[in-house]
Symmetry: none
């Protein structure tokens, strides 16, 4: 019933050496070892391996994966939810790349002009933007989050982001007299949520937390209220409604 190395390797599409490696570093040690020293992997081992590969797909270093999987607070469902978020995020990046490549093609055909920075929109793969959230959720240290991330973006990307954010704030401000659970508010909030997920990956919890910060952190509040009195509070309420409804 248990699987030998090559079987596992073929089932999941990795090399035998990789399994050896994971054993060496203690990331995945077979449940059983035969008399003659053969590695024998259980069904449970396979599930763990699946988890490992999920995270690996998202470019988590193995060290981190090990920490996550062995953490007592590791919650499989939560991990899956987060994984989902990250996949969505990755897809958004792909979409950006596609836009960028389409523009490049058109540019080659001489149809439009593209700035240098624009050519590289979508190419910020310099470091894993998801790790931060993973840390937050699985109780590593809390670190300053968004500033660092944004600092890694190209200048034009930063400007674009700022423009888009301000646009959203403005539209929110325009409807801030409506109830937070109104269709309009919720629709915009949804837009806000998905937009945020183009930067990093936000769970609903994190999103709610962000909303709270808007009202609890003076720096946020005053900046947001520039777009309209009471906007921060309105955003917070809308975001809470949104997060709770989606749960």
């Amino acid at each position: 019933m248990p699987f030998k190395v090559k079987e596992v390797a073929e089932i999941v599409g990795i090399s035998v050496r990789t399994l050896h490696h994971y054993d060496d570093i203690g990331l995945l040690m077979p449940d059983e070892i035969s008399e003659s020293g053969y590695r024998l992997y259980s069904d449970e081992n396979l599930e763990t391996l699946q988890q490992i590969l999920f995270f690996r797909e998202l470019d988590f270093p193995l060290k981190r994966i090990k920490e996550i999987l062995t953490s007592p607070s590791f919650d499989r469902e939560e991990a899956l939810q987060l994984h989902r978020q990250m996949l969505l995020n990755k897809r958004n990046k792909l979409d950006q790349l596609l836009v960028s490549i389409d523009k490049t093609i058109q540019h080659m055909k001489g149809e439009i002009m593209m700035s240098n920075e624009e050519k590289f929109d979508g190419f910020d793969f310099s470091h894993n933007p998801y790790e931060q959230e993973a840390r937050d959720r699985w109780g590593d240290q809390a670190v300053d989050q968004s500033k660092e991330k944004i600092g890694n973006l190209s200048k034009v990307q930063q400007q674009n982001m700022k423009d888009e954010m301000e646009d959203l704030y403005n539209r929110m401000a325009a409807i801030r007299h409506l109830p937070p659970n109104s269709k309009e508010a919720q629709s915009l909030t949804h837009e806000w949520f998905t937009w945020l997920n183009t930067i990093g990956s936000y769970s609903l919890e994190a999103f709610k937390g962000l909303g709270e910060m808007y009202v609890n952190d003076e720096r946020f509040t005053s900046n947001i209220d520039k777009f309209g009195d009471g906007l921060a509070a309105f955003l917070n309420e809308s975001m809470t409604v949104y997060a709770n409804k989606r749960k």
Copy 2:
């Protein structure tokens, strides 16, 4: 006008070290070097860099990227089109992963039951017009075996299978101008072979036979060539190479 290392690095979101590295290995050497030894990158350099990053995003090793970019037959626009295709495929894969993860989550919540009795509800591969040929080619057991397996799958799983097949065809189509014995083609062919073996069991001979059918049977040829002109022939060659090499 020309850019210094850090400027380039910031524009595209990579590290200075990476640029040094690309210079070292001759992948991207700045058009100009200042009096004092500074690397000065031209606009053209930036375009090349963009190409490099596109390929890198698709996990091409730098060596291969260099080969490709310096190849005299390298057509920039065609390459871009190819990238576009591959990105689209990648996104489709992500979508599949998302479906799969959603299912896993729902399954964990016990919201759906994957009963074994949930069988052929209409769509199955028995509508396959090529079944008779398949029977003739590989004998009845192989066909029955795969039919049975497919019949046991849920609708969603069947849809996934169809998607996977089409995905593979698409990815093959994207690289059909490469030689059939190239690493990329053989890698995909391997994927195709192992994928087929998740349905039934295919000997290398049967696999080769399938490849031949692709070009000899008009109905196959035209269906496959929908994914790209000459794809059937390309598949046949790749599959033959693959089978012979493995023998």
